[in-house]
Each structure stands twice: as structure tokens, then as C-alpha cells.
């Protein structure tokens, strides 16, 4: 059981990293918007993961993305922030039965609207931190906010597609 969780998370880590830097970063449109789908790794981390480990993994993933996109460490900072907020979000959104026999957050047992709320919250937080760290200014706030909304929506869409395609029985 444990090795299976470990394996699926390792595959997700590497798969999302390469999907981000090789495919999503290379799709060029004229407006400066990129969906940061790799945040899915943090969204789907198992319930049982130690909080400290989740921070370290988020940091490693973020810094790897930074390494491929010349962005300093803004992805690392945003990813660590999301991993930090996640346990509190899960606690606040705990359903009546709790998360007892679940391995990771998912749509099947917890419901579509729960999953949309939960992932939208983390995605918007991540993209908000990321885009403001990138521009590092509050001039043109509306432009930055519209970039955040645009790319958050695309990321959420991708996350939902992923969850529809790969939902497993025990989630």
C-alpha cells in the first residue's frame, strides 16, 4: 500500500514537472498567460503525509520548475506557500465523515463540488502568489489580476480533466 502511494506520487512529481516545462511552458500565445498545472502535485498529496515533508517536496518541485524557466525562485516560494496552507484548508473543509479511509483528496468520494472548491482555492492562491512575485509591483494591478484569473481557470480546467481521467477506486 505504502509503496503504491510512494510510486504514484513519484510518477506524478516527475510527470507534472516535465509536462510543465516541456509542453505547457512551450505553448505560446500572444497574451502573457501560462497555466501552472504542476500545482496538482501539491493538491493531490496524500492525507497521511507529514507536513514537513510536504513543504520540502513542494520546495523541490517549485525549484525544479524555476530551474527550467529562469524565474529565480518564485515557483518554489508559491509552491511552499500552497503546501503550508493545505493542511489548514483540509481541516477547514473537513466533511462530516472525515477523510478516514481515503488516501488522497479526490472527486469520487468527496464529491465534485468539494473537489472544485478545494482545488480552486489552492490554485488561485498559488497563481496569485506567483504572478505578484513575478511582477513585484502593484502598478497595473488589474492587468495582473486578469492574468491570474485567466491562468487559474485554465489550470483548474486541466486539474478537473486529470481527475476525471485518473480517479482511482479508493479516492
Amino acid at each position: 500500500m505504502l509503496t503504491k502511494v510512494l510510486r504514484s506520487n513519484l510518477i506524478r512529481f516527475l510527470g507534472l514537472l516535465f509536462f510543465q516545462v516541456i509542453i505547457l511552458n512551450e505553448i505560446h500565445v500572444h497574451v502573457p498567460i501560462i497555466p501552472y498545472f504542476y500545482v496538482l502535485f501539491i493538491i493531490l498529496m496524500p492525507f497521511g503525509i507529514s507536513p514537513a515533508l510536504s513543504l520540502i517536496l513542494a520546495f523541490a518541485l517549485g525549484l525544479s520548475v524555476d530551474m527550467f524557466s529562469n524565474t529565480g525562485a518564485i515557483h518554489a516560494a508559491a509552491a511552499v506557500l500552497v503546501a503550508f496552507v493545505r493542511p489548514y484548508t483540509l481541516k477547514a473543509m473537513k466533511p462530516v465523515m472525515g477523510y478516514e479511509d481515503l488516501v488522497r483528496p479526490g472527486m469520487r468520494k468527496l464529491g465534485f463540488s468539494w473537489f472544485v472548491m478545494y482545488s480552486a482555492l489552492l490554485i488561485i492562491l498559488h497563481h496569485f502568489a506567483l504572478y505578484f512575485l513575478e511582477v513585484f509591483t502593484f502598478t497595473e494591478v488589474l492587468f495582473t489580476l486578469s492574468r491570474i484569473m485567466g491562468s487559474s481557470l485554465i489550470t483548474l480546467f486541466l486539474v478537473l480533466i486529470f481527475e476525471f481521467l485518473f480517479q482511482s477506486k479508493n479516492n
Binding site: 505560446h28 500572444h30 502573457p32 530551474m67 527550467f68 524557466s69 529565480g72 525562485a73 492587468f143
Partner: protein, 277 residues
């Protein structure tokens, strides 16, 4: 001491979070300093080789466009060669005679293996590095015009600050009337640049070309940047608001040349000497 240890252990999650964030911010604040060689960039060994492999796959998808660009460039060069043959007999009729600064450049061809246009501070990566003679601060041009300035160099790869980077400023000149200004990107559209500090008494027309001024030692002069598409007069301002369309399509950047300005050191030395006086 023991209590302190217990305290840290109890709140280790928060402390770890704060520690990692501090680390990130140290990197973020120092990243913008030029030539600080961090490993967190695309010219390092791992990213360079991964992106190089991935670009081999991507390059199959736009072979048609690459071929078209290369044959256009070939045709242009053929035309230049034919035009120059007339001049070669009589030196006097060459309008560029005496002004040979533009010819003193080596061009190092390179392939773009990774390109971003979706950020505010965009960079791209080349598959050539210090082994091939590239050093920081060299200019990078595509067949159709200027595209960036080399920032970091490893042995086999180099990271280039794209012209689509809100921190970059390039000296531009309006081809027809010799007025010079600063070319910047405002971060909204990857096809549009702005030319600033052109005074309102200048005669600026839509459709004229903007080229490099040659005042810096990074680019030789007369490299095409773009074409003026809109000119606005702002009430109360002494300067026009000029928008240009980039001559190069940054979405599909494939093959570029790194310009090695041979007289660079001489020019830099001369200028620093005269500034010192």
C-alpha cells in the same frame, strides 16, 4: 535550552515554512543582478540537456516554417550579393565607404532550444555556450531582426534575455529621420514594443522602420527592430507614444545569430576612459 528545543519541535512546520520562504526570497532578490551565476537557470547542465532533447521533438512540428524562413533569408542574401557586385569595382560609389563599423562582426549561429513569451521577464536558451565563443552581453539577432541579449553562459548552453522582458531597454533609431529613443516592452502583447522619448517636433510616420542606434556596444547599428504601427500625441507631454510591431515573430523563434562585436573592448575602454575625465 530543552524548552527551546521542545518549542522548535512543536512548531517545526511553521519554522520550516519560514526558513524555506526566506531562502526563496534571497534567491528572488539576487536573481536580477546580472552575471550572478546561480545554478537555477536554463543554461545549467541538467536543464540544458533536457531542453535540448525536447526541442528536437518540437522542431519537427515547425519544419515548414523554418524552411520558409531560411529560404527567405537566402533570397535576401542573394539579392545583397548581387547588389554589392556593382559596387566592388568602384569604391567611391559605395555609400557605406568609410563607415565600416557594421562589418566588424562575427556571427555565431545557434538554435533556440527553449523560449518563453508568457512571463513579464522572458528568457530563451541557446544550444551554444562558452565553448563556441559566446560571452555575456553579446547581442542576439534573428534573420528578421533583433531578439535579445546574452545573460548567462555555461560551456554548452546560454541563457538570453528576450526583447520581451520588461527589464530590457534598447537604443532605437527611426530609420528615416535619425531621431533616437528607447525601445521597451510593456508586457502586454508579445507582438508589440514601444519606442519612448521621441520628441513631438520629430516627424514620425506610421510604417517607418526602427533600427538599433549603435550607441551601445552590444548591437551594431542598423539592426532592424520593428515597424511603427501607431503614433499618438499625449496632451501635455513633450514625447510621442509610439507603438511598433516586432519584425520577428517571437512565438516561433528557431535559428538565431549571436553577434560578436569585434571592436567591443576597444569601444568600451575608450568610453570608460573618457567618462573618467
Amino acid at each position: 535550552m530543552y524548552k527551546l528545543f521542545l518549542f522548535i519541535l512543536r512548531f517545526h512546520f511553521v519554522f520550516l515554512f519560514l526558513g524555506l520562504q526566506t531562502l526563496c526570497f534571497v534567491v528572488i532578490f539576487n536573481y536580477n543582478n546580472y552575471h550572478r551565476s546561480y545554478f537555477i537557470n536554463t543554461s545549467n547542465f541538467i536543464s540544458g540537456h533536457t531542453l535540448n532533447a525536447a526541442s528536437r521533438f518540437w522542431s519537427y512540428l515547425n519544419l515548414v516554417e523554418v524552411n520558409e524562413n531560411l529560404s527567405n533569408e537566402n533570397a535576401n542574401l542573394q539579392m545583397q550579393v548581387q547588389n554589392n557586385q556593382g559596387y566592388s569595382n568602384s569604391v567611391v560609389s559605395n555609400p557605406n565607404f568609410g563607415d565600416d563599423s557594421t562589418n566588424l562582426n562575427n556571427l555565431i549561429p545557434a538554435k533556440v532550444i527553449n523560449n518563453s513569451i508568457g512571463n513579464q521577464h522572458n528568457y530563451f536558451t541557446l544550444n551554444k555556450g562558452s565553448n563556441h565563443g559566446i560571452t555575456p552581453d553579446m547581442g542576439v539577432i534573428a534573420p528578421s531582426g533583433l531578439v535579445g541579449i546574452v545573460k548567462q553562459v555555461s560551456r554548452n548552453f546560454s541563457t538570453v534575455v528576450s526583447i520581451l522582458n520588461t527589464r530590457i531597454k534598447i537604443g532605437g533609431r527611426i530609420g528615416e529621420n535619425e531621431f533616437t529613443g528607447t525601445v521597451i516592452w510593456k508586457g502586454h502583447d508579445s507582438r508589440k514594443l514601444n519606442l519612448e522619448t521621441i520628441p513631438v517636433h520629430a516627424d514620425v510616420r506610421v510604417g517607418s522602420n526602427v533600427v538599433t542606434s549603435g550607441y551601445s556596444s552590444i548591437f551594431p547599428e542598423n539592426i532592424l527592430i520593428g515597424e511603427i504601427t501607431s503614433v499618438k500625441e499625449i496632451p501635455g507631454s513633450a514625447f510621442y507614444e509610439i507603438e511598433l510591431t516586432l519584425s520577428t515573430n517571437m512565438q516561433s523563434l528557431n535559428y538565431v545569430y549571436v553577434t560578436d562585436f569585434i571592436l567591443k573592448t576597444e569601444k568600451d575602454n575608450l568610453e570608460s576612459e573618457s567618462y573618467a575625465d
